[in-house]
C-alpha cells in the first residue's frame, strides 16, 4: 500500500518515522529480554549494585538445579505445566465441538426476521460479562458441587466461557464457504448433518485450527477463574501456580522469571502459527485481516 508515496518524503519525516519505530521496538522487546536474562543470573549478580545487561556468570540453576530448579521433580512447575496443557487441550476440543455446531446453525439456517442476529448477540453478551461478576457465585456453586480444586471445574468454566469466541470465529469462517457444496452432497442423498461433517468441516480446517489455537492461548493465560477455583498446587494451572511463587519466595526472582519464560514459550510458538488470522481472532471476526 503506497497511499502516501514514499518519494516525496523529506529526511525529517524519515528520521521521525525511524526513531518512532525504533523506540517502539525497544519498548516492546526490552521487558521480554530482561525477563529471560534475569532467569540466567546468579543471585549475587541480580542484587549487585551494578546491574548487568548480559549475565556475567551464566547459570542454569533456576531451570536444572535438582532442588530448586523448575524442571526438578520437587518443584511444582512441571505439574502446573501439565495441568495447563490438559485443561487447554481438552476444553478447546469440547468447545470446538459444541461451538462448531452452533456456528454452523447460525451461519447457514436463515431464520425468520432478525432471529439469527439476535441469537448471535445473546451468545456475545456472555463474552461481555465481567468475569468477576460470575466467579464469586460460581465459587459457591462449585463448592456445593464438590468441584473446587478439580480440573473438572476448569474444564467446565473454560469450555463455557470460550464458547462465544469460538461460535463467532467459526461463524465467520463458515460464511466464507459457498453452500452449493453441501447442497450437491445432499442431492446425492446425504443428510444435512453429514454434509456438514463431511464437506464443510474439512473445508473449514484452517479456520478450525486457527480458532483452536486462539482458544488454547486464551485458556493458557487465564488467571482469575483459576485463582478462585484452585487452591491446591496439585491442580493449579500455570498462571495460578506462578502467582503462588510471588508470595512464597518473595525475592526468588530467578525461579519466577524462569517459570514465566517457560510458560510463554508455547504461546509464542502458537501465535507465530496463527499470524495470518490474528486480526480476525482479536475482533471475533468483526474485522477481516
Amino acid at each position: 500500500m503506497a497511499m502516501i508515496s514514499a518519494k516525496q518524503e523529506g529526511w525529517k519525516i524519515k528520521l521521525l518515522r525511524g526513531s518512532f519505530l525504533t523506540t517502539a521496538i525497544i519498548f516492546v522487546l526490552f521487558p521480554l529480554y530482561w525477563m529471560v536474562i534475569t532467569s540466567f543470573k546468579t543471585e549475587g549478580e541480580l542484587f549487585a549494585d551494578k546491574q548487568t545487561f548480559f549475565p556475567e556468570n551464566f547459570t542454569f540453576q533456576y531451570y536444572l538445579d535438582p532442588v530448586e530448579g523448575i524442571f526438578s521433580p520437587n518443584n511444582p512447575f512441571m505439574q502446573f505445566f501439565l495441568n495447563s496443557t490438559i485443561v487447554a487441550f481438552v476444553s478447546t476440543l469440547l468447545c470446538l465441538t459444541i461451538g462448531s455446531f452452533s456456528a454452523y446453525s447460525l451461519a447457514r439456517f436463515k431464520m425468520k426476521g432478525k432471529r439469527n442476529e439476535r441469537l448471535s448477540f445473546i451468545i456475545l453478551t456472555a463474552r461481555m460479562l465481567p468475569p468477576i461478576v460470575i466467579v464469586v457465585p460460581l465459587y459457591l456453586i462449585m463448592q456445593k458441587l464438590g468441584l473446587l480444586n478439580t480440573l473438572w471445574a476448569m474444564l467446565i468454566v473454560y469450555t463455557g466461557f470460550n464458547l462465544p469466541f469460538v461460535v463467532w470465529m467459526l461463524k465467520a469462517f463458515f460464511e466464507e464457504i459457498p453452500d452449493s457444496l453441501e447442497e450437491s452432497a445432499m442431492m446425492d442423498g446425504s443428510s444435512r448433518f453429514m454434509a456438514f461433517v463431511k464437506i464443510v468441516l474439512p473445508l473449514a480446517l484452517p479456520g478450525l485450527v486457527a480458532t483452536s489455537i486462539f482458544t488454547i492461548i486464551l485458556t493458557w493465560n487465564e488467571f482469575l477463574f483459576a485463582m478462585f477455583l484452585l487452591n491446591n498446587t496439585d491442580v493449579m494451572t500455570l498462571p495460578a501456580g506462578i502467582s503462588t511463587f510471588i508470595t512464597q519466595y518473595k525475592t526468588n526472582w530467578g525461579a519466577l522469571t524462569a517459570a514465566a519464560s517457560m510458560s510463554i514459550l508455547p504461546v509464542l510458538i502458537f501465535s507465530f502459527l496463527v499470524q495470518k488470522h490474528l486480526v480476525k481472532g482479536m475482533t471475533m471476526g468483526a474485522v477481516k485481516g
Partner: protein
C-alpha cells in the same frame, strides 16, 4: 416437546421459539436441526451465566456469619450499603480513569504505529510479529516482569535513572505513580492489538480517494485527517469497544503489581470485589456490588455497541 426444547425455552425469549407453526413442512427438519445444533451452547451458557447471576441475587439479599454460613435475609440492605460506600465509588472512579487513559493512549499510539508500518515489505512482516508479542502473553506474566523492572532497589528502571544522575523512585509506592505504572503496563500489553486491528483496516482501504486527494493538492496531514480517518472510523471503533470492555475488568495486573494500593489508589472494581469476596462474612455485600457492576457494564456495553453500529451504518 423434548427436554432439550424445554431447556432452550427457558433461555430464549418466547417470541424466538413459537414461530414453528406457520412454516413450510419441507423446512421443518432443517429447523429442528438448527435448534438442536444451538441447544448445547445455550444450555452451557445459561448454566454458567444466568444461574450464577441468579445465585448472586439470592446471596445479595442474604446475610452470612464469619464462616460463610447463611444466617437470614436482609432485603436490599446490601445494595444500599454498597451504593453509599465511598470505597465502591472510588473503585468505579479508578476503573473509569484507568480505562480512559489506557485505551485513549492505545488508540493514539496504535494508529500512529499502523501509519508507519502500513507499507508492505518483508522486513515489516517480521517486525509486525515482534511488535504484537505482548498481547499474546498472560497479563499475569507481563505484570511480573514489570514488577521486577520497577523494583525500587534492584529494578533496571531505577538503575538507569541513577545512571542519569536522578533519584531512585518508588514507582509502586506512590499513589499517582503506581496508578500511572498500571496504565503504562496496559499500554505496553495492548497497544499491539489496537495497532494490528487498525493496520488491517488501513490495508483494506480503497486507493482512489487518496489519489484524488493527491491530485487536488491535499497535504499529507490533510489526507490523513479528512480522507483516511473518516474511512477508518468503523475499524477504530471496533478496537475501542473491544479494548474498553477488557480494560474495565482489569484484575491480574493489579493483583501482581499493587494489590490495589498504596491506599486505594489503584483499586479497580474487579480487585475490590475480589477483596470483599475473600472475607466470607461479606458475601452478601460483595454480591450486591457485583450486580451493580453488572448493570453498569450492561449500560456501557450497549452504549458502545450503539456507537459501533452507527459508525458502521455511516459507511
Amino acid at each position: 416437546m423434548n427436554t432439550k426444547g424445554q431447556a432452550l425455552k427457558k433461555v430464549l425469549p418466547n417470541n424466538m421459539l413459537n414461530k414453528r407453526k406457520g412454516s413450510a413442512p419441507g423446512l421443518s427438519s432443517d429447523k429442528k436441526l438448527a435448534v438442536r445444533l444451538l441447544t448445547p451452547t445455550f444450555i452451557l451458557l445459561a448454566l454458567l451465566t444466568l444461574f450464577p447471576i441468579g445465585y448472586a441475587v439470592y446471596i445479595s439479599l442474604s446475610s452470612f456469619d464469619t464462616f460463610g454460613n447463611h444466617t437470614g435475609f436482609v432485603g436490599l440492605e446490601n445494595f444500599i450499603k454498597t451504593l453509599t460506600n465511598g470505597t465502591f465509588w472510588n473503585s468505579i472512579y479508578v476503573t473509569l480513569l484507568f480505562t480512559a487513559l489506557a485505551v485513549g493512549s492505545q488508540i493514539f499510539l496504535g494508529f500512529n504505529l499502523a501509519l508507519i508500518m502500513s507499507r508492505d515489505s518483508n522486513a515489516m512482516k517480521y517486525l509486525r510479529w515482534l511488535l504484537i508479542i505482548p498481547m499474546m502473553l498472560s497479563p499475569l506474566v507481563v505484570a511480573i516482569v514489570f514488577r521486577l523492572m520497577l523494583n525500587t532497589d534492584m529494578g533496571i528502571i531505577n538503575y538507569m535513572l541513577q545512571g542519569l544522575g536522578l533519584q531512585k523512585i518508588n514507582f509502586l509506592g506512590e499513589p499517582v505513580l503506581a496508578f500511572l505504572s498500571l496504565v503504562v503496563v496496559d499500554i505496553w500489553q495492548w497497544t499491539p492489538m489496537v495497532f494490528l486491528i487498525i493496520l488491517a483496516g488501513m490495508q483494506s482501504l480503497p486507493k482512489d480517494p487518496f489519489e484524488a486527494a493527491n491530485i487536488d493538492g491535499a497535504s499529507k496531514l490533510q489526507t490523513i485527517r479528512y480522507v483516511m480517518i473518516p474511512m477508518l472510523k468503523p475499524v477504530i471503533v471496533v478496537a475501542l469497544v473491544i479494548r474498553t470492555m477488557d480494560a474495565l475488568r482489569t484484575f491480574d495486573q493489579v493483583f501482581v503489581l499493587t494489590q490495589g494500593g498504596p491506599g486505594r489508589a489503584t483499586e479497580t472494581v474487579s480487585f475490590l470485589m475480589y477483596r470483599q469476596a475473600m472475607k466470607f462474612s461479606e458475601f452478601g455485600f460483595a454480591s450486591a456490588g457485583l450486580l451493580i457492576v453488572l448493570v453498569i457494564t450492561i449500560v456501557i456495553s450497549s452504549l458502545l455497541i450503539k456507537l459501533m453500529n452507527s459508525s458502521q451504518a455511516a459507511n
